[in-house]
């Protein structure tokens, strides 16, 4: 078979395959007690994944208690009710359940999965963690040392240094402008009372999103939700205000030893609710998506060998939006890589993209979408994300049509609106040759 035939075969597949739809059947469930959740029921494997998200996260910290929500989140599983840290971990592992507690700038996530055979026991244990965490002083002190150890490492980690500079520069005094883990000083000063307060601020019913996937019926889930979350406090702390993004382009160099530099670059983005979001999303995919055929990957890696990888993404947070990217490169190659990225930025802002690029990005995005719904943990987590974006349960069936509807003209208009070469700012942590602050 010749090359042309193979490619033609591929094209045929593309042309005659109707837009894929995610065949995921989402039920909206309301518990007898009024707690709402989404559910994808699948009884093939005897376990359930449950994802709970509390909106707010580390951005609820006050400047004085920076890091309190992060430390609190890490302490939820360090003893509850009659069980100390050891007792809680032994009980959880004895049930072969998994509970993961994570905080980020917009929320606290509780991700769990548990076997059908001991679901009630696993949920009783999780309930005690969410309602009666002990925050024993010994546990606070031990986990605090782990956080401090992480912060000391971050102080010498080029990726963490770059992220910190980028945050500060972009968002100033807003909570988004500093590391949610806190500083050595603020974390050292946190008391048990601060942790208790952070718990009451962050964990409440007025900010909750829930989803489940796996071996559970809607009725069983409703019952579970009331038992698990029904007696949480009704209200937590007020949500943070909108962040103002500082948008002045340029380069900031921070000296750091080593053969390579770490580079973060970015500018303003747009909201998921923006009518141009899907066009922007396709545009990002074409410019800096993780695919080998994306423009930046082609120009910086494939053609010039300047980096192992470069990509960009639309970062949509609850209170700010950015278009951000990153790469690492040998110190002597940084200047050329930045030059190439700036040229690509200007080029796409001026000319948009080609018909071919748009067609390929569409088939990629529409083809990749149904593949996301793979595995109970993943599905539960996606379902929480969708609810937080204000979507309806039928969204997976219509999402690809929205992608398909984007035209070349849309992209051109959005590129002119979104891509701002003059706003593009680079943080370079390393010892780059011929790169100076500007």
């Amino acid at each position: 078979m010749s090359a042309r035939m193979l490619l033609k075969a591929a094209v045929l597949l593309l042309t005659f395959t109707a837009p894929l739809r995610a065949e995921v059947n989402i039920q909206a469930v309301t518990s007898p007690g009024g707690i709402k959740a989404w559910l994808v029921e699948d009884h093939g494997i005897p376990f359930t994944s449950l994802e709970i998200r509390f909106k707010g996260g580390t951005s609820l910290d006050t400047p004085e208690t920076r890091g309190a929500v992060n430390l609190m989140t890490a302490l939820i599983e360090e003893g509850a009710g009659a069980l100390d840290s050891q007792g809680f971990a032994a009980a959880r592992d004895g049930l072969a359940a998994e509970f993961r507690f994570n905080s980020d700038l917009d929320g606290v996530s509780v991700s769990s999965h548990f076997l059908t055979e001991n679901r009630d026991q696993a949920m009783a244990l999780l309930h005690s963690a969410l309602t009666k965490p002990r925050f024993d002083q010994v546990a606070v002190d031990r986990v605090r040392e782990q956080v401090l150890s992480g912060l000391r490492s971050d102080a010498k980690d080029p990726a963490a240094i770059a992220a910190d500079l980028e945050r500060k520069r972009s968002f100033g005094d807003h909570p988004y402008g500093s590391d949610g883990s806190g500083t050595i000083k603020s974390v050292t000063a946190l008391t048990r009372d601060d942790i208790e307060l952070a718990f009451h601020d962050a964990i409440a019913r007025d900010r909750i999103t829930v989803a489940a996937a796996g071996d559970i019926t809607a009725a069983e889930l409703g019952d579970l939700l009331d038992k698990l979350l029904g007696d949480l406090p009704a209200q937590g702390a007020p949500q943070p205000v909108e962040a103002t993004l500082q948008t002045k382009g340029g380069i900031t160099v921070e000296n750091f030893p080593g053969p390579q530099s770490m580079i973060i670059f970015g500018q303003g983005g747009l909201r998921f609710s923006d009518p141009d979001y899907f066009a922007a999303s396709l545009l990002n995919e074409i410019l800096g998506g993780g695919r080998f055929s994306a423009r930046l990957m082609t120009e910086v890696r494939e053609k010039r060998g300047l980096t192992y990888g470069v990509s960009t993404s639309l970062a949509s947070f609850d209170h700010a939006q950015m278009l951000m990217g990153q790469f690492q490169a040998s110190n002597e190659k940084v200047a050329e890589a930045i030059k190439v990225i700036r040229e690509e930025w200007a080029k796409v802002a001026k000319d948009g993209v080609t018909e071919d690029e748009l067609a390929n990005a569409k088939t990629y995005m529409t083809g990749a979408y149904p593949l996301r719904f793979d595995g109970n943990d993943t599905i539960a987590s996606i379902l929480v994300g969708m609810q937080d974006l204000g979507l309806t349960p039928d969204y997976p069936k219509t999402r690809n049509e929205k992608v398909e509807a984007v035209t070349l003209e849309d992209i051109k208009r959005v590129a002119a609106r979104l891509i701002k070469p003059e706003d593009l700012h680079f943080i370079v942590v390393g010892q780059p040759t011929g790169v100076v602050n500007e």
Binding site: M1, A3, L6, A10, L13, L14, L20, E23, G44, I45, F47, A74, E78, S85, Q86, A89, A90, D93, G94, A96, R100, N102, H113, L115, R142, V143, E145, Q146, S149, G150, R152, S153, A155, D157, A160, G258, P259, Q260, R291, F292, S293, R301, E302, K303, R304, G305, L306, Y308, Q328, A329, S330, K333, Y364, T366, G367, Y369, P370, L371, F373, D377
Partner: protein
């Protein structure tokens, strides 16, 4: 406990924490062998219309010719550089156009390529993967640019990370004679010297159906996969150059090795120890199973493990501790320990506390409650594993690529369940031999002076 601790600190060590082993039930797995010697395994999971194709070559870093370190990994990159039918860059572009993902990875023992796509695109994936098994056609320019990418990759993953540099040095000291002592990515100077001719020679010698394993996992029927595999991979000629892998083996190790790596980029010092340890062998996985359970007992939980309890609860010696072991390899492996001291605790004191904890474990033996919990978790992990067909594909591929059989993979959970506390202690007594160990300290420049 804190989940993000150590995300960059421990480098590769953090990636090889003792993960409980998993397996798929036999009724969803079928295996075949094509006439040209290519092995085919199909894992069915019909819950989502997705398929993963993986092709594993039984050729890794440890099979390279001396002086050409990194060629296996370098070649993995070059496999994306095109054939007459699918020009350079088109392979990934075609997968991406289908909405799929593709990539590849190289280890000491194997090189694997995979795509994850909608199940009805498997035919096209096989067409392209079989094409590049024999028809690769790379230009001098492709080779030159890709060598630069790989030097950047080495810069990013290894040279920029003191933890990975220490691990590289420790492996080099661990193996006196066996090729596992050389890093998968290769030594920088040798990577820089790799040529197109080296790559072509390597390709012709090792890329052939009788040195490859095809794993297909997802929404597929075994008969359909077999028919497709016969169509695309079946006509490829086997190579007569594939021989059993007989690498130089270790002489008796008689002297402990110790090293200190001081680097100004280190913020959080730690002590790491590796011991020689046996690997899983076909039909004989008992010792490896005991070592897997041992690693879980000593360091598998951030709260209840022996090391954690002793160093983070009963005393405040450490902020983090772990044990790791992965016995899925062709030749003998290592069993590792790592302790990150608490603020104000020296590496010497941390190491002493670690050794005292191990000595006490050897005296006290296995805690029955801990042991029962780990057995429960192993049983449950078989249930959870069925949720991830791609993960199962990887697990089968890995095992088959190091010479284990489908039966070995399916026996593994039973072998693990059969492990007794006595087996664990016997395995511990075997590996905890300081004459066969390497101890590494990662420290700040200031502390070293």
């Amino acid at each position: 406990m804190l989940r993000t601790l150590g995300r960059t600190m421990f480098g590769l060590i953090a990636l090889s924490l003792p993960i409980l082993p998993v397996v798929a039930s036999a009724d969803t797995v079928s295996s075949f062998t094509l006439d040209n010697g290519m092995q085919v395994v199909v894992i069915e999971d019909h819950r989502a219309p997705v398929v993963t194709q993986m092709v594993w070559y039984k050729i890794g870093r440890a099979d390279e010719v001396a002086g050409h370190s990194g060629i296996a990994h370098f070649f993995e990159h070059l496999m994306f550089k095109g054939t007459e039918k699918v020009p350079s860059g088109e392979f990934s572009a075609t997968v991406e156009k289908q909405g799929g993902d593709d990539n590849a990875f190289t280890t000491q023992d194997y090189t694997a390529y995979f795509q994850r796509v909608a199940a009805d695109r498997l035919d096209l994936m096989m067409q392209m993967e079989s094409d590049r098994m024999v028809n690769l056609n790379m230009s001098e320019e492709d080779v030159t640019t890709e060598r630069q990418v790989i030097l950047e990759e080495r810069g990013q993953r290894t040279d920029s990370d003191p933890g990975n540099l220490l691990q590289e040095q420790m492996s080099a000291a661990q193996y006196l004679n066996h090729p596992y002592g050389t890093p998968v990515i290769g030594w920088r100077a040798e990577i820089a010297g790799l040529t197109r001719d080296d790559a072509i020679g390597f390709y012709r010698a090792y890329y052939a159906p009788n040195n490859a394993i095809l794993i297909v996992a997802g929404d597929v029927k075994p008969d359909d996969v077999l028919a497709m595999a016969k169509k695309y991979y079946g006509p490829l000629p086997p190579s007569d150059k594939i021989k059993p892998r007989q690498r130089p083996q270790e002489p008796p190790q008689l002297a402990e090795r110790r090293m200190v790596l001081a680097d100004e980029r280190v913020a959080q010092p730690y002590v790491a120890r590796s011991y020689m340890a046996p690997e899983r062998n076909p039909g004989d996985q008992k010792q490896a199973a005991a070592l897997s359970v041992l690693a879980n007992l000593l360091g598998g939980s951030g709260t209840t493990s022996v090391l954690t309890k002793a160093l983070q609860f009963d005393s405040q010696t450490a902020v983090y501790s772990s044990a790791y072991y992965d016995g899925t390899s062709v030749d003998p492996q290592t069993f590792g320990l790592v302790v990150v001291p608490a603020e104000g605790v020296s590496l010497a004191d941390a190491e002493t506390a670690m050794d005292q904890t191990i000595a006490k474990f050897m005296k006290d033996g296995v805690n029955a409650a801990d042991f029962a919990r780990i057995k429960t978790q192993i049983r449950a992990s078989q249930i959870y594993a069925r949720d991830d067909a791609g993960g199962l594909a990887r697990m089968y591929g890995e095992a088959l690529a190091v010479g284990l059989s489908v039966k070995d993979v399916q026996d593994w959970p039973d072998v693990l369940q059969a492990v007794t506390p006595e087996d664990v202690m016997a395995a511990a007594a075997l590996v905890f031999n300081r004459d066969q160990a390497v101890t590494g300290w990662l420290t700040t420049k200031e502390a070293a002076e």
